[in-house]
């Protein structure tokens, strides 16, 4: 079987103190905004991204890579609905949502 075609990926985790969802940025820091997430476009870049993102063990926890889709304008969006919900917060209290 042919290897799965690579899908672009970003690195995400949760802030140790606040618990907030955060994304690893191209500048090498962390942001609460998915628009600032660094995107890896091949397997090697993804491995390197994860390695860089995991270098904050006392600031960010539960770091992992997740697939994104890129629209024609170059904006990244989560490929899976779980990650989509993570960008927004719980749906039952609109006032607790973010980036709505």
């Amino acid at each position: 079987m042919a290897p799965r075609a690579f899908k672009p990926q970003m690195a995400t985790g949760n802030d140790l103190l606040e618990g907030d969802v955060v994304y690893f940025t191209a500048e090498g820091g962390w942001s609460r905004h998915i628009a600032e997430a660094a995107i890896a476009r091949d397997k090697e870049a993804a491995e390197a991204l994860l390695a860089r993102a995991e270098a904050f063990p006392n600031q960010i926890v539960g770091v992992y890579l997740t697939d994104v889709t890129i629209d024609p304008n170059g904006h990244a969006a989560p490929a899976h609905f779980r990650e989509d919900f993570r960008t927004r917060g719980p749906s039952n209290y609109p006032e607790h949502q973010r980036q709505a």
Binding site: N14, G19, P57, G62, A79, G89, P90, S91, N92, H96
Partner: protein
């Protein structure tokens, strides 16, 4: 209400101090996340999708106004002004900050509460009938038993690292409101031929990915033998429960793979050995605990005629007030299922209203039910108009207990890191679809239970209509099960057929209920009774009309 002894108080305070130190060490980096995670979980602190979540134990679901007010204070001071009451009679806070958690735990400890053993492979918070001590059908109050088990199981050194988590439920009534057959151990109070109360002991029940009803391991256990017998069950499970595969690690799998006969023989042998090694439960201790749960000083029956009730209050009493052991008292269930609301959620303000009502009218007692409602167990009926008026002001007077909108739902993918789909919006949409209370009353008793993953916190297997949210190739998909029952006539629901999309599931439930209304013999035949009489076919036909049409062609 059981009051902490000096031992309990010192123990809980020491645990708070210990956790404060652990958090400090995590913040300074001297504990890694891998080291810290099991420590925070032992104190009920999870990391969920959007934030930390703190799960606080409410032992056997019993609270007083002081404790309830403290839960409100915590929601306001350290969270976002609300809490979520769970199907295990606990409360969860969805937004605590790591730095604040030691202060929250201290605030809990100050009112004799904690979050110990609300996670991990240990004996979890013991649950009990939420009508305990009040219900007309009760043999004995199950809470002294539950408290005894709490004392025995808390920090029990031998059972801190079981193959998997372990849940015990106790009921004192023949009507099982504690879902005892879906627990690792279920205790049902029964009487022997001499009329002495004891326990029917059930083991190996559980929901999750392999739902099973518990089996009776012993028909009658004298009360004084309880701990030696429980110790025996846990010893057998601890030695023989599987540790190679977490999905096969619960005691239900041991009972299933080994057979109840074999497990019974081993438990009885261990129990015989324990009889020589361990003391019986001390009668003095039992007497002390039972005294802590003595009934309140009930007021005498009135000699005046009952007041004339408004239609709204009559409807509320019909659904939300149950028979108390005293005729001039009632058990009030406060629904946390308003139309369009999140099942089990209460704001800090609502918690305070419930605390006030318990203090003013309810002998200062409150209960949390596994169905995610709050109970005032002892209310003199003459107070019902005043209580109803106050509940209405607080948005807590929804008269839907036991009806289609009284839905159990786990937090699902709106909060939970384990979830595979959302639960809460499905519950919200169903309750909006059936918002008309007259329509709900016409449909009659119906339990819809929704889980957002296979772990089944929403008890979907024992819902008359169960809904399980799954991730099917990257899309939310909802499976329907039918005919489940969590009471003394327990049954695991049967899967109806292929799943439905997020958009399709609520209309599918509506079709199911229409099919029930079309097929019931008379309005008194409940959904479950009709399902048991008719079997799944008419319900499947309603769920899958396309298929039914092509079969007929």
């Amino acid at each position: 209400m059981y009051d902490y002894t000096d031992f309990d108080r010192d123990f809980v305070n020491a645990r708070v101090a210990e956790f404060r130190d652990q958090v400090e060490r995590r913040l300074t980096g001297s504990l890694s996340e891998d080291e810290f995670k099991p420590l925070r979980l032992m104190n009920g602190l999870y990391l969920q999708l959007h934030a930390y979540m703190l799960r606080v134990a409410i032992p056997y679901g019993t609270l007083d106004s002081r404790k309830m007010r403290r839960l409100a204070d915590i929601a306001e001071k350290w969270d976002r002004g609300y809490g979520h009451f769970t199907t295990r009679q606990n409360i969860q806070y969805n937004w605590p900050k790591l730095r604040d958690v030691p202060d929250i735990l201290q605030a809990l400890a100050d009112v004799e509460m904690h979050a110990i053993q609300t996670s991990g492979n240990c004996i979890r918070n013991v649950t009990a009938d939420h009508f305990a001590g009040a219900s007309a059908d009760e043999i004995e109050d199950p809470r002294p038993t539950a408290e005894l088990i709490r004392q025995w199981s808390t920090d029990h050194p031998e059972f801190a690292w079981l193959p998997r988590k372990f849940k015990i439920a106790v009921t004192g009534s023949p009507n099982d409101r504690a879902v005892t057959k879906a627990h690792d151990i279920g205790l049902r109070m029964v009487r022997d031929e001499a009329g002495e109360p004891g326990y029917e002991v059930i083991i190996g029940g559980g929901l999750g990915r392999t739902p099973m009803l518990g089996k009776v391991v012993r028909d009658f256990l004298p009360k004084a033998e309880l701990l030696r017998y429980l110790e025996a069950i846990l010893q057998v499970y601890n030695m023989e429960g599987r540790r190679d595969n977490k999905y096969k690690a619960r005691i239900k799998i041991l009972v299933h793979e080994s057979t109840i006969e074999k497990v019974r023989a081993e438990v009885e042998a261990a129990y015989e050995a324990n009889r020589a090694l361990l003391p019986r439960v001390s009668p003095e201790l039992v007497a002390e605990i039972e005294a802590a749960f003595a009934p309140p000083a009930f007021e005498p029956a009135p000699d005046t005629a009952a007041p004339v009730l408004s239609a709204g209050l009559r409807a509320f009493i019909d659904t939300n007030v149950s028979a108390h052991k005293l005729a001039h008292y009632g058990i009030v269930t406060i629904s946390l299922k308003p139309v369009g609301g999140t099942p089990g959620d209460a704001t800090a303000e609502q918690m305070r209203v419930m605390a006030d009502l318990a203090e003013e009218f309810g002998h200062d007692e409150l209960r949390i039910s596994h169905e995610q409602n709050v109970i005032l167990p002892h209310v003199a009926r003459r107070h019902l108009p005043a209580i109803y008026a106050r509940l209405r002001e607080a948005g807590l007077a929804t008269a839907n207990v036991g009806l289609v909108s009284d839905i159990i739902a786990c937090p699902g993918m709106d909060y939970c890191a384990l979830a595979t789909a959302r639960s809460i919006p499905i519950a919200q949409q169903i309750s909006e679809t059936f918002a008309d209370i007259d329509r709900q009353r016409d449909i009659g008793p119906l339990k819809i239970k929704i889980s957002g993953c296979i772990n089944a916190c929403g008890h979907h297997h024992v819902g008359h209509i169960g809904i399980l949210g799954l991730d099917k190739a990257g899309v939310e998909s909802y499976q329907v099960t039918l005919g489940g029952d969590g009471t003394e006539t327990a049954a695991i629901g049967e899967r109806a057929g292929p799943g439905f999309s997020y958009e399709e599931i609520v209309p599918a439930v509506e079709r199911l209920i229409e099919a029930y209304l079309d097929n019931r013999l008379e309005p008194g035949e409940s959904f479950l009774a009709a399902y048991r009489r008719l079997g799944p076919d008419p319900f499947r036909a309603a769920l899958y009309p396309e298929e039914a049409r092509s079969d007929a062609a």
